[in-house]
Assembly symmetry: C2
Homo-oligomer: 344 residues x 2
DNA sequence: GCCAATTTTGTAAGCGCTTACACTCGACTT
DNA sequence: AAGTCGAGTGTAAGCGCTTACAAAATTGGC
């Protein structure tokens, strides 16, 4: 509090130093057209010398941009989201944007409330990056028409840029790996909890599973498709249920690595072991998967976050409309580890 | 873009509806003194009916608050920080604040740059929540005098509110647990990488380790204190080095659970097993520790984040100075699992 | 009941920036 | 050489809010 308050460098100061009007300075600083090169250099020189940084509040109020974007995630603690958030934050920070983190804490009601007040949101940020958010048609339309720039990760049929992986393909690859090892009795720990944001994702993975079986002329045994949500605990519960009350298959395809962890745990707790009694494969390549020797379909998580963030930034920079939304699909890769092996 | 742009509800509208001046409205809305109860109710009624929300940009520009706070973390991906960030974000959101996430991405240079421009920071947020940030004396002083409200987690000797655990105590408890099980040959996987933000933390834990040994009339064998940083990989490397090039102790105290994971992995990869050949204990109670059967000293991570966030909010609300900074210490608890057992 | 002291309320001046609009001035037409 | 055009620049009017300061309403003491 005793600090000598620096009086703040305003655009006026820059104008004075450069001998131009604040209007010209404003335009020069934002690289708008109709500014001579001479003016341009004088302005940037003066700004640099003064260490001038525009007040985001003033800029925003006057109709400019806020200089910040929001990342909206179902939760910030899950491995996937934490990775994606950090990668996106890096891109935003490097582009000079502040990142406002909004976690929905797995509560759909929070999402509804947030998207009901898009006006409020668009007042505070220039754009939003959606991570696996389940949106109603109406919400999508409202968001698309809100004036906010939008990009997303892991979403489908959205009217803005999206980046993700081919979930059906990944599930197909995982299942095929099992099938290729001679397992013909494969169960799937599917993720589809009510209200779960990644429901679509879960369904696609289920489809890939079914397709792989189909290609091997196998039919899906309903008893061997069990709901496991997408948490460790859910995986453990589902696996236990499977073994104790249904039937022990020779291989398991878990909808995601965390589910697989739970399955691994259940197997161990039941006195069995992997891959001796059962082969298990997941999807993600979670940080701990390597440690646990879990075979999996690796997906580039940080890349997805960074890629989507870059798309958003691009939209922000050229608000010119001639830019139809695109969907980018990133590659996944089978990673074989100890948890899967040939059926004997 | 086709949306019928709602013309935005301004303070003027509220003033008109309530039949008062914008000045009175402004004061009423912010619960300032010198507003009659009658006015107060009329204003809040009108505001509610109109769904009025103040423009943070305008408010900020006019000298008010920004309505947002920053969380500054060494990285957003580590388990500890992800937990703390989410917990804090929840508190902030519930108090109506936007949360700006700033990850230092483990790069000290980013921290230096950030704290060199406190003016810029304080222009965008009202307060900051520091998570385990290593600050120089000068930076601390500058931050304390910046006008920003500050609170922190896991820091020491800071001129603002802090919440954390007693690291020395936790380390002492972990080591004592091992000693109590008859292990007299205990190694420590210490965390102290250069530039590591939690250096102080690491040192305190080392001190607790030494104190426990001392109490049992044991001396610290320098060969058995090895640097492991605080990552899985670091733990693995350190443990391997220990076993292969130094000496195999009968028990290991790992500075944090992630280091312990690495140790567990190294032990396994060397054909040994836990707790048969070596007992291992960590600190944290990471989500996976339960899964891996790792004994540990549990610390309330989310609570620390939420607590500190609440302290920050409190500061923000009553900027009245009569409130000396306090340091809050949260309890830790020994959690015994499979990884530790009595020495035979 | 009247005047000073004390609320309560209103007026108006910005905060720092963007932007519609007006203006200047050479370069081109014809 | 007068007239047109457009690039480059400046003027000034806000954006929606906070906050001195002034004005009005209320209170209380004698």
């Amino acid at each position: 509090m005793l600090q000598g308050k620096t009086p703040r460098v305003t655009i006026q100061d820059v104008a004075a130093l450069s001998g131009l009007s604040i209007c010209t300075v404003s335009r020069a600083l934002r690289n708008l057209p109709n500014v001579s090169e001479a003016a341009q250099t004088r302005v940037s020189g003066a700004a640099a010398k003064l260490g001038y940084k525009a007040s985001s509040a003033a800029s925003r109020l006057a109709g400019g941009s806020t200089g910040s974007v929001a990342i909206i995630a179902p939760t910030a603690t899950a491995w996937f989201f934490a990775q994606a958030v950090e990668a996106a934050e890096e891109v935003f920070a490097d582009s000079g944007y502040d990142t406002v983190l909004i976690s929905l804490r797995n509560r759909p009601s929070l999402a509804r409330k947030l998207f009901a007040d898009l006006e409020g949101l668009s007042q505070r940020v220039d754009g939003v990056l959606l991570l696996n958010i389940a949106l109603s048609e109406a919400e999508m339309a409202a968001l698309a028409g809100s004036g906010l720039a939008v990009a997303s990760v892991g979403m489908h049929d959205v009217p803005w840029d999206n980046v993700g992986i081919d979930n059906e393909d990944a599930a197909h690859a995982a299942t095929s790996h099992l099938l290729g090892l001679g397992h013909w009795d494969v169960a799937m720990l599917a993720g589809s909890e009510i209200g779960e944001p990644s429901l679509v994702t879960a369904n696609e993975r289920l489809k890939g599973f079914e397709r792989a079986l189909d290609e091997h002329d196998l039919t899906v045994d309903p008893d061997l498709v069990i709901d496991a949500g997408s948490s460790i605990e859910g995986g453990r519960r589902a696996m236990t249920e499977l073994i104790e009350n249904r039937r022990m298959p020779s291989a398991i395809f878990a909808g995601c690595d965390e589910t697989a962890f739970g399955a691994l745990m259940a197997v161990r707790d039941l006195g069995l072991s992997t891959p001796k009694n059962v082969s298990i494969i997941g999807i993600d390549d979670h940080q701990m998967s390597w440690f646990l020797g879990l075979s999996t379909i690796a997906q580039p998580v940080a890349d997805q976050g960074a890629f989507a963030a870059n798309l958003l930034i691009e939209r922000l920079h050229r608000s010119g409309l001639p830019n139809p939304p695109a969907s980018h699909v990133l590659e996944t890769k089978l990673v074989e580890r100890r948890s899967t092996r040939r059926r004997r």
